[in-house]
Symmetry: C2
Subunit: 388 residues, 2 copies
């Protein structure tokens, strides 16, 4: 399909992409938009003019109301938006509501309900095991049986561009200080649209019924704080100061051409994890620090699949809510130039960690359904000095 929007055809934000975000014009309340090329389509007035019955969801300051409408509405809204941008007769109505990106402020797209972070890359888990336990097994005994995960802090998930204040806190031996080992974790995040009932697991093949879309995610980590606090209940303050996500939520339908077989799982996972149906996403990640690309982690090399993470998260009967966010954990490929954290990239070199003023940009792209590539946007953060 071709769009009539000038400059969008063949770009990374072509009409086969159409991610959703929350934008604000100067002096106006934030509301829902769709990106096409370097423009944002202001959906609320167009939906009102076309008397769409869900037009109110676009007037909200997060995507949650749209996401809560469920899979059928999600798919039909996407067809409607696609029609608006490809059918010449719609142009007179729609064109006045296309706003250049540089005229808007982008906001956190999702009101995050619960945030869960997994640890689904075998290369990352092995690298961390080798760095911290050089004489032991690289992977712990449970790692190949289940996607290890834990809950993070939903209230400190921030939009790309939000500055990250260097945290202070307790470190080894009960000393106090500013974190010197400030790190990134390049991850992929999945946003839940449709919730589930408490007590009833979500099966792995119901993934697309519940997951609305995908975001880029940087799980900022203070390694010195984390190392002292994490036994026996896991990471806490080493992570909870900030987690950044992209401005754009890419609908799961835009990634139809990106599904690939994952490398393989041995031992075969339990039935609830859908052995034999282990499909991942062929998403390329690029990590840039101060303008220089330092790594290119490939998401297709992950061990555990997105559907397995969701099935595991709910196998005990835990319910899902609209706005739940679950992330992959650090994406690291098999090669040294595919590592997803500075801990692994530096491998013992303390100077690899972030300095005040450093700017980190994560970029994500995938094959589009029209044959080209699409962008999932970027996740940017600048490190600000510690306070106090």
């Amino acid at each position: 399909m071709k769009t009539w929007v000038p400059g969008a055809d063949g770009s990374l934000f072509d009409v086969d992409n159409l991610p959703y975000g929350v934008f604000a014009l100067p002096g106006e309340e934030p509301r829902v938009g769709v990106r096409i090329g370097d423009l944002v389509l202001d959906l609320a007035p167009v939906a009102a003019a076309e008397m769409l019955d869900v037009h109110h969801v676009f007037e909200e300051r997060s995507l949650n109301a749209l996401m809560a409408e469920g899979r059928a509405v999600r798919e039909s809204v996407r067809r409607w938006v696609s029609g608006l941008l490809t059918e010449e007769p719609e142009r007179d109505l729609v064109e006045p509501h296309l706003v250049p990106l540089q005229e808007v402020t982008m906001h956190l797209p999702v009101e995050v309900a619960d945030y869960v972070d997994f640890y689904a890359s075998e290369h990352h888990a092995s690298n961390v095991g080798r760095i911290f336990r050089p004489d032991g097994e690289a992977l712990l005994p449970n790692w190949k049986h289940l996607p290890v995960g834990y809950h993070g802090r939903a209230g400190t998930v921030v939009a790309s561009g939000t500055p990250v204040v260097r945290p202070r806190g307790q470190q080894r031996g009960g000393t106090f200080g500013t974190s010197k080992r400030l790190d990134i974790e390049a991850e992929l995040g999945f946003v839940v649209g449709t919730g589930s009932e408490l007590g009833t697991p979500v099966p792995y093949d119901a993934f697309a019924d519940h997951v609305f879309g995908v975001v880029g995610l940087n799980d900022w980590s203070a390694r010195d704080i984390q190392a002292w606090e994490y036994v026996p209940l896991g990471p806490f303050l080493g992570k909870s100061f900030a987690t950044s996500i992209s401005h754009w939520v890419t609908p799961i339908e835009a990634l139809d051409a990106a599904w690939v077989d994952l490398p393989g799982q041995d031992p075969e996972p339990l039935p609830y994890l859908g052995p034999g149906a282990v499909r991942g996403l062929d998403i390329d990640v690029e990590i840039e620090v101060n303008g220089e690309v330092v790594s290119r982690p490939p998401y297709r090399t992950m061990y555990w699949s997105p559907a397995q993470m969701l099935a595991h998260l709910t196998v005990n009967g835990a319910s899902l809510r609209t706005g739940d966010l679950f992330a992959s954990g650090t994406i690291s490929g098999p090669d040294p130039d595919q590592r997803g954290s500075l801990l692994e990239i530096g491998w013992g070199d303390e100077s690899a960690f972030l300095a005040d003023g450093d700017v980190v940009t994560l970029r994500y792209s995938a094959p589009g359904t029209a044959g080209g590539r699409l962008s999932l946007g970027e996740v940017v953060g600048v490190v600000e000095p510690a306070r106090g």
Copy 2:
């Protein structure tokens, strides 16, 4: 002060208590009420009649809007409610809005933002250490330096009375099954009213500026699921199936007479944890299983104080939001009949864990400001068989 409400004077829900909850009359929407004796005061119509400027907060289906108004409003609303129930001239206006408890349905009182669970009882942490690591040190090296904590699942915090479905999931060696070691953890929870800014820690002496009140809390735990999954990122599915809280949120002002010195801390905590100002709450807990009291944990024996938990939670700059809930971890006293979990009460006896149909009731009481005692309500749960 004496109340004109029949039967309330001298009860555990006297006018020095006045906890808030969310109730619904048959066929009506849930809204905010205050408990007095065995009655609920329907605040919305009274506040509207008296033209209180915050009357809209009582029409909400959670306490969050009231709590978000901040400390000064919280204190003045409490004085206003106290006046309504003690001044005879108010009786004609107020009495028609007192509803017997048995005529209402109670709901989850708080829309939980982030849920953090600590591990603040030395006796509990030592007992667990001795049970799981009989040849090692009872406490891990960080335990006396910081209140160990982690994030739990906010979306599965449920109101007292909600049945708890026995979870299924992975256990030792990657086997799958129904949890056989279903346990309780008797805890105290603290509800945040006033949020804080990202990047700026909340000092220990700002506790009462941020904490609105206290709830009873049962952190249901599947020990067999937890034991297999928890390395290295902490408990996840072993906890996330359900956390029950009391219907009533006791305002922190109602506990003015309950503050006591805690047993003492060695080594002296770091300055941000307020050494020398370590005050806890003299709250008695009673654990009843199927009508029999099995333990009486005393909250005054905790090692880490509520203000220390809050200061630690934010020392890295993590922000607070209205509705954040942080809990103490299992309350266990020094004596065998003061233990707060069946794991400790049974100490190796597998039959101590919960069977289907078991009913667990946690009760909480404290010294009241008028010289008697007050109740913080109870936390009830019945175990339902696993599904599937």
